[in-house]
Amino acid sequence: MTIRLTRRNYLLGTAAAIATAALGRAGFAAGLAYQGDINMYSLVRTPPDDALAALIESFQADNPGVAIKTTSYPSETDVALMTAAQKAGEAIDIMFLNGQDLRRYAIDGTRLQLDDKLALDRFRPGALATGQVNGKTFGVPYSSISGFPLIANAKILTDHGLTMPKTYADLLAIRDKLAGTDIKVFTHPGKNIYLWPVWFFTTFGQTSGNKSVERTAEILSGKGKFTDSDVVAGLDAIFQFGKDGLLTQEIFSMDVPQSLAEFAAGRALFWMHHESVLAELMKQAPAAVTLDVTLMPLLAEGGAHATYPGGPSAIIGVNSGATADRQAASIAFIDWITSDQANAAAVKFNNGTVPVNTAVAAAGGPVVDKMVVLSDNLVTYLDWNWPPEVTHVFQEGIQAGVGGQTTAEQVAADAQAALDKLVAAGYTFKN
């Protein structure tokens, strides 16, 4: 049975769509013991996740008396606001989070282990791994795998007789060709320190010989250091973008809306940003942009191939402190929204790329099709393993380094000092 989750049906709120969805959910959790609100804390999605809204309606229709209440926070402040909510004693049943935030709560014992609660073999192993700590599952992936490729404006390449760069030297040649125009090679929301580590995940992927996740685990376990040469090289590679004028000074006063405006106006060739912005750009269809995606060119010789950082759209976890009947209702809801039917709808509705469910095929479209091909090169975000203090050092340090305010060696030393301080206070990396 196919779920009729078209926008028209959702907006009209037709009983037929709800009934059809309810029929399609035969076997899902009818007759829950719990009656009342289930509080779900989520991230603000741009564009909004209409599929999730429709899935919530379907679940509620099939489980009268259970209401899913959603509170959404911006991703750069979700930890702060979630912490405030927890400390204020608010009842949080379901946490719909970024991967690194799920890890934080899994380690502190506030997430319920899900291995014997859900059928996990429906998920792609790579997607499921992001919700696992020490081999135990504390969160399951939702919707699609996505990341930070290079979003490109192919129209600029065509208009200036350029081709997609394969090496760093090609990037410099593009810079020289665009000199004198008002077109930048890269735009980036440089004011937002939250997004700077993505550059390091990309460059370190190459400078570590495509072993960035393994090296991160080594460093956090004490078998390596942030001051090792491959880390410093990864940082240096980013700072070189600033020295060579590929990232210009103006980016430090820009946040995401300004970067989006700049890219959509055809004033930047590349934008390393989350692929969810592709949906917004495809919807806007700006005349100055022909949308394309690619990976970071090879930054140095050495045999490593290009990768891009990413992970599932969200990881969903359940509060271990909730009562048993609330947990059962939460698990029933998660079971529904991660079913193959729901996953197919979520990916299609949200213009996702690679579905997290193995049995679900990707949606079509030239850019999406290209992302499916590129997704073989996706590597989990490294800060999903870093302690937040280390993440903050990289956030501030990379911003400062690109701005010429510090060196790669100093940032690496600061990161190692932050880790050493945590280790002295009892931190142990759990993998």
């Binding site: 440089g190 004011k191 000074q249 103006e250 430090f252 006063s253 300004q258 203090e389």
Partner: protein, 286 residues
């Protein structure tokens, strides 16, 4: 009415004041001696304060607060006094202009920070766009992206928002000044400048001290304009004490250490307040 008889009348207000103002402060001080996990049963310890003494980032942030305080206090006091003098006269549209200058005070700082954040953006912002359109492109600087300029941009927005509030205080003072002093001075041949220097300025000192105290305390507790416009960047150039406290509490979840930072800031603001109040009393005496 005896003192005991008055207690039932003021008790509700006192209870509310204790619950929402004094109790959180006491709790914060208690937490500063406890662990970061907020375990209230743990034995008290001074380790957060020991760490605070060696925390160079917090020291730098406090330095930024001092910079912010000096610049905003001078800016607000001077500008507000000048505007109050201008608005004190009887002219057409006086009420309209008084309303216009007070309007930023009542607008949310989140809205103001967001709008100015867009306006001051280097490439697409309205300020630089206007300057370029006027042929003044050389003045189109990176107001929020430059480590040298970002703090001054935030200072400018803070002055823009709060000057109207200080104008109101100055206006109240100006309108309370006795007219006969000016008449007598005029009859004695004093010029307008002499009347301003020898009558207005001395009699307005207490209002100036009031504005200085309010502006200074506001400068040391500044958070919202910086969080919205720069988030402490670029390159930590606009980090202040409150953004550091926020970072430690809600990003690193170090509630004990953040409480120690907040308590230290409270002590600093208390000391500054005492100094300013003593100065104010001296001015009143004069």
């Amino acid at each position: 009415m005896s003192r005991l008889g008055a207690i039932p009348w003021i008790a509700p207000g006192l209870v509310l004041f204790f619950v929402f103002v004094q109790f959180p402060i006491l709790l914060q001080v208690w937490m500063s001696f406890g662990p970061d996990s907020m375990d209230m049963t743990a034995a008290p310890s001074l380790r957060h304060y020991v760490e605070l003494v060696h925390d160079r980032k917090f020291g730098t942030a406090l330095g930024h607060n001092v910079h912010f305080a000096i610049a905003t206090v001078i800016g607000k006091v001077v500008l507000a006094f000048a505007l109050a003098l201008a608005l004190n006269g009887d002219f057409r549209g006086r009420l309209f202009f008084r309303g216009v200058f007070f309007l930023p005070v009542v607008i949310s700082f989140v809205a103001i920070g967001t709008i100015w954040g867009f306006m001051l953006q280097y490439q697409l912002g309205a300020v630089n766009g206007t300057l370029r359109a006027m042929g003044l492109g050389w003045l189109a600087l990176d107001w929020l992206g430059s480590g040298r300029l970002a703090m001054w941009s935030v200072i400018f927005v803070d002055i823009w928002k709060w000057t109207g509030f200080h104008v109101v205080i100055y206006l109240a003072g100006l309108q309370s000044l006795p007219r006969d002093l000016y008449e007598a001075a005029e009859m004695d041949g004093a010029s307008a400048f002499q009347r301003f220097r020898d009558i207005t300025m001395p009699l307005m000192r207490r209002y100036t001290m009031t504005n200085v105290i309010i502006a200074t305390l506001g400068a040391f507790s500044v958070f919202d304009v910086i969080f919205i416009m720069t988030k402490g960047g670029p390159f930590n150039s606009t980090q202040v004490a409150m953004t550091q406290i926020y970072l430690n509490a809600f990003q690193f979840q170090r509630f004990g250490y953040a409480s120690a930072q907040a308590t230290a800031l409270l002590a600093i603001m208390g000391a500054v307040s005492i100094v300013l109040l003593r100065l104010s009393q001296r001015v009143d005496t004069q």
